[in-house]
């Protein structure tokens, strides 16, 4: 208890009160102006941490939503292309059935054969459709046109030096490809050096996994597998120099059997592409080679070969089934993406709510507090104005 009050005490007290009130007043003003409860970490340290967390998750959610949208567009396009393919296949099948009957003649078959070619071309163009600048049906080789017009035998492309390689020699390939599906072999230099000292590893799945221990690079031919061997002219290799070789099984297909996938949630990846291998060839998970069937049909029609035409009826049926199966698969994927989309949108709404609970100011409560501070401040000023008025000096003559 203070019994003796001096002038300094009065002024100091007033000074402190005014500065405290001013501080609180301006804090309230900031909250009112931003309409936010938390304007700096120390306002609510835990809340700030949560706000940042919610903001980050919200940002990821919006990205996942975009991925869902993009994959859906891809699948929608795939579905529509496949259903057009199906329409054409039905049309061809009708022609084939009618031309396989005894009523058909050589001339009708000739006409049918002539009209078949544009349909095959149309079908090939559907199978070579793009989404933006990426081919829909070439697996992960999205920059390679998946289907050629003519059938080719098993073949091995010239090896490609990666652009950043130290080694600049022209690598030559040899052998006959014996693989069942199209593959890309990759040779990676593990330890640099020259022929006879540099070591390498081989991948048969486009460079995802590496088989075996590093082997010394021989000056003659080096066997990769599936009948492929490479010969390197002398030169110096650096670690991580890489060479890739595309090898193709016989047929029309130039893509590969790997589906494209994207993450649409934490640990939730979906495959959104259908490979040409599965939908149009008899390799990999496919059962019937559609282009071969159509070309065989065309040959049979041209040759007026009723037996040959009939032989293609079952494969044509299977081709239709194969396409329908993948059209249905598209539908299933869209459904599951729709579910993901709903979950993500729901999460987004809830995050907005949660953030708002912590971050947003209760304007009514703030306004009330603000008014109270205003009154306190006014009282302080009033006091300050009158402090000098009352003094014993006024009463001493």
């Amino acid at each position: 208890m203070i019994t003796r009050v001096t002038d300094n005490m009065k002024f100091d007290m007033l000074n402190n009160s005014i500065s405290n009130t001013q501080t609180q007043y301006s804090e309230l003003m900031e909250k009112l102006a931003t309409e936010k409860q938390v304007n700096k970490p120390s306002d609510d340290p835990l809340g700030m941490g949560k706000i940042l967390d919610y903001r980050a998750v919200k940002s990821y959610t919006s990205h996942y939503e975009k991925r869902v949208e993009e994959s859906k567009s891809w699948i929608d396009l795939t579905e529509s292309k496949l259903s057009s393919v199906n329409d054409i296949l039905n049309q061809i099948r009708e022609t084939a059935i009618s031309q396989s009957s005894a009523t058909a003649s050589e001339s009708t078959r000739q006409i049918a054969a002539d009209s078949l070619q544009p349909l095959i071309d149309q079908l090939r163009s559907l199978a070579n459709s793009k989404f933006g600048d990426r081919y829909l049906f070439s697996g992960t080789k999205t920059d390679t046109e998946p289907f050629s017009a003519t059938e080719s035998a098993a073949r091995i492309d010239a090896p490609v030096n990666a652009s950043g390689n130290t080694y600049t020699g022209t690598v030559s390939e040899a052998g006959t490809y014996t693989g069942a599906t199209n593959k890309t072999y990759v040779v990676k230099i593990v330890a640099g050096g020259t022929l006879g000292s540099a070591t390498y590893q081989v991948s048969s799945d486009s460079g995802k996994t590496w088989v075996g221990v590093p082997t010394v690079l021989a000056s003659g031919s080096n066997t990769l597998g599936d009948g492929i061997s490479l010969t390197f002219p002398p030169g110096t290799f650096a670690a991580n120099d890489s060479f890739s070789v595309n090898a193709y099984a016989p047929g029309y297909y130039n893509g590969n059997g790997e589906e494209l996938s994207v993450e649409v949630g934490k640990d939730v990846a979906i495959n959104y592409s259908i490979t040409g291998e599965a939908a149009f060839t008899a390799r990999g998970s496919g059962t019937v080679d559609i282009f071969k069937t159509l070309n065989d049909l065309k040959t049979a029609l041209q040759n007026n070969d009723a037996e040959g035409i009939r032989n293609q009826l079952d494969p044509l049926q299977e081709a239709g089934d194969q396409i329908t199966r993948y059209t249905a698969k598209c539908g299933t994927r869209v459904n599951s993406l729709d579910i993901s989309d709903t979950v993500l949108k729901d999460l987004d709404t809830r995050l907005t709510g949660l953030t708002s609970n912590i971050e947003d100011a209760d304007v009514v409560a703030l306004m009330t507090a603000f008014k109270m501070k205003e009154i306190a401040l006014q009282a302080c000023y009033e006091m300050a104005g009158n402090l000098g008025n009352i003094s014993i000096i006024n009463f001493i003559k």
Binding site: I2, V38, K40, P41, Y60, R67, K141, D143, E263, I392
Partner: protein, 557 residues
């Protein structure tokens, strides 16, 4: 027996005493706004009694003492409180600056950029050949990297500003210590000759409070009136008229920041001895708080760089190359030589750092000698555990670990010479690899050489969900969010403590004012009182004068 001369003398004393009293009142009024001024009070005392019978007469009055109203126990509390308030005020001011760096309430900080960074990888994963996606990723990664280095540099700036402020405070303190010696001298000299050193004592009390704002001190007053001040380890700052000044000395083992030392023992840092006051607050913020935040940022930067680079190296770019480093990889900093070392040649560090976290390798000489004879041991955890003792080869190059090479030119080592080298990815150096910046096609978005898939970009995006921080308990994002929360907590704590201490301080100040402060009302009343006394005495003087006249004229006709 009455004596008219005595009456006149009494009157004179009354006039003079009241004049003195008025003088004291005047000086109280004059010093109403002087900080540290303790009000004075004249103590009137009667001068003896004469006579032995019924005619006893008071002889007169004098000012026995001019009392300085002062509570020394309150002063002790005030000095103590000044230390704590000074300490927390310094912490609060600095942490407020730090909070500004981590304030992300409006977005646009590391948290936002991190989300955008991971988002850009996600975007690239769905269209790995897209040029726009690649360019976007490069620009966001550059923003993220420069945001990391900017925040780290901001923190380092606050550290070095604090460092400069520490040096300034030491200079200020030394000036106060000199003044303290002066005042001690004045008090002792004045009081030895029986004078009143009230004003010097007031100044000294005020000075003591200024000193204790800077450093925590204990003090006692000697019988001759001089004040002795010493710090918590018992070492004196001021003893009578002797002074031991402080100094600052750069410490190479602490980023060349200042240690606080005594001028006469420059090799003995007393940082740990300071527990309160502004200096201790600044040292704590510089060496513990900000260092801690910086370390957290470095850990994050290191985790992002290491993990993104590792994943990036397992993918393929648009030109079928195996991916390189996405961010500039870890580096080895220049070795730091401890200040007390005997070995004086310049040590060089090189090599390619292969560690996955930031480390400081410490090399300690076990037995001294030349190259080929001296032995050493190595610690990679800042000196907690040590490896086997080995001999430094004649060539002078040793390999402490993780691909670091240290080369010592010929010179002689002494036992306990210490060298340390820091290696890793630090927030302040974070940047996107220049090859990626030059050619966004070098981003290894695909897991296969055919580069149609975005699986590697997807895997990099998934790094955000891995629990890579804090020993596998939190994701990079969450780690940063906790960092912001802990900065907020530190500031809120400092603010709360400071508010409390300010309140206590105000209370103590009021109590001190109640004892020592000047009240105008009181002084005005005293003025009236003393004026009345003076007037009465003067009137008395007139009366005695008339009586003298009567007496002198008594013999006349």
């Amino acid at each position: 027996m009455g004596d008219i001369g005595r009456v006149l003398n009494t009157t004179k004393e009354a006039i003079l005493s009241h004049l003195t009293a008025l003088n004291v009142t005047g000086s109280n009024v004059a010093n109403v706004n002087t900080p540290g001024y303790s009000r004075l009070r004249p103590a009137f005392g009667s001068i003896g009694v004469i006579g032995s019978s019924t005619n006893d007469v008071q002889l007169g009055v004098k000012i026995v003492e001019i009392e300085r109203l002062y509570d020394k126990y309150l002063e002790v509390q005030l000095v103590q409180q000044e230390q704590d308030t000074g300490n927390n005020q310094a912490r609060m001011d600095l942490l407020n600056n730090v909070e500004g760096i981590f304030n992300e309430s409006t977005g646009g900080g590391i948290n936002d950029l991190l989300s955008q960074f991971w988002g850009a990888w996600s975007q690239l994963s769905s269209n790995p050949s897209g040029t726009a996606e690649r360019d976007n990723l490069v620009s966001i990664s550059q923003s993220l990297a420069s945001m990391f280095s900017q925040k780290a540099n901001d923190l380092i700036n606050i550290q070095s500003d604090t460092n400069a402020a520490i040096s300034d405070s030491v200079t200020e303190l030394n000036k106060y210590l000199d003044e303290m010696v002066d005042l001690n001298n004045k008090v002792v000299q004045t009081e030895i000759s029986g004078g009143s050193a009230a004003s010097s004592r007031d100044q000294r009390a005020e000075l003591l409070r200024k000193i204790s704002q800077i450093i925590d001190v204990n003090y006692y007053e000697e019988s001759n009136g001089s004040l002795n001040i010493f710090i918590s380890n018992g070492k004196s700052l001021v003893e009578g008229t002797n002074v031991w000044k402080l100094d600052v000395k750069t410490n190479p083992e602490n980023s060349n920041y200042y240690d606080i030392v005594f001028e006469d023992t420059p090799d003995e840092a007393i940082n740990e001895r300071l527990t309160s006051g502004k200096l201790a607050g600044m040292l704590d913020v510089r060496d513990t708080k900000i260092s801690g935040y910086l370390n957290d940022l470095d850990q994050m930067a290191s985790t992002i760089v290491t993990n993104v680079n590792t994943q990036h190296r397992s993918g393929y770019d648009l030109n079928k190359n195996i991916g390189g480093d996405f961010f500039s990889p870890a580096r080895i900093e220049s070795p730091v030589v401890a200040s007390g070392n005997t070995y004086a040649a310049t040590v060089a560090a090189d090599g390619t750092y292969t560690g996955t976290t930031n480390k400081t390798y410490t090399v300690k000489i076990v037995t001294g000698g030349a190259l080929g004879a001296a032995t050493y041991k190595v610690s990679s955890d800042g000196g907690t555990t040590w490896g086997a003792v080995q001999t430094i080869p004649v060539g002078g190059t040793i390999t402490p670990g993780d691909g670091i090479n240290l080369t010592f030119p010929p010179d002689t080592f002494a036992t306990n010479d210490v060298f340390s080298v820091k290696a890793g990815c630090f927030a302040k150096d974070m940047q996107v690899n220049s090859t990626i910046v030059d050619d966004a096609g070098k981003i290894a978005a695909s897991a296969t050489v055919n580069n149609g898939d975005g699986d590697n970009a997807g895997s990099i995006n998934a790094i955000k969900d891995s629990l890579l921080m804090g020993g596998g308990i939190s994701s990079i994002d969450n780690f940063y969010q906790s960092l912001v929360a802990s900065v907020g907590n530190d500031v809120a704590d400092a603010k709360r403590i400071l508010d409390h201490q300010t309140a206590v301080m105000n209370q103590l100040e009021s109590q001190k004012e109640a004892v020592s402060g000047v009240s105008i009302d009181e002084e005005m009343l005293n003025l009236i009182k003393y004026q009345a006394g003076y007037n009465a005495a003067a009137r008395m003087c007139g009366v005695v004068n008339q009586m003298m006249d009567v007496l002198i004229n008594l013999g006349k006709e």
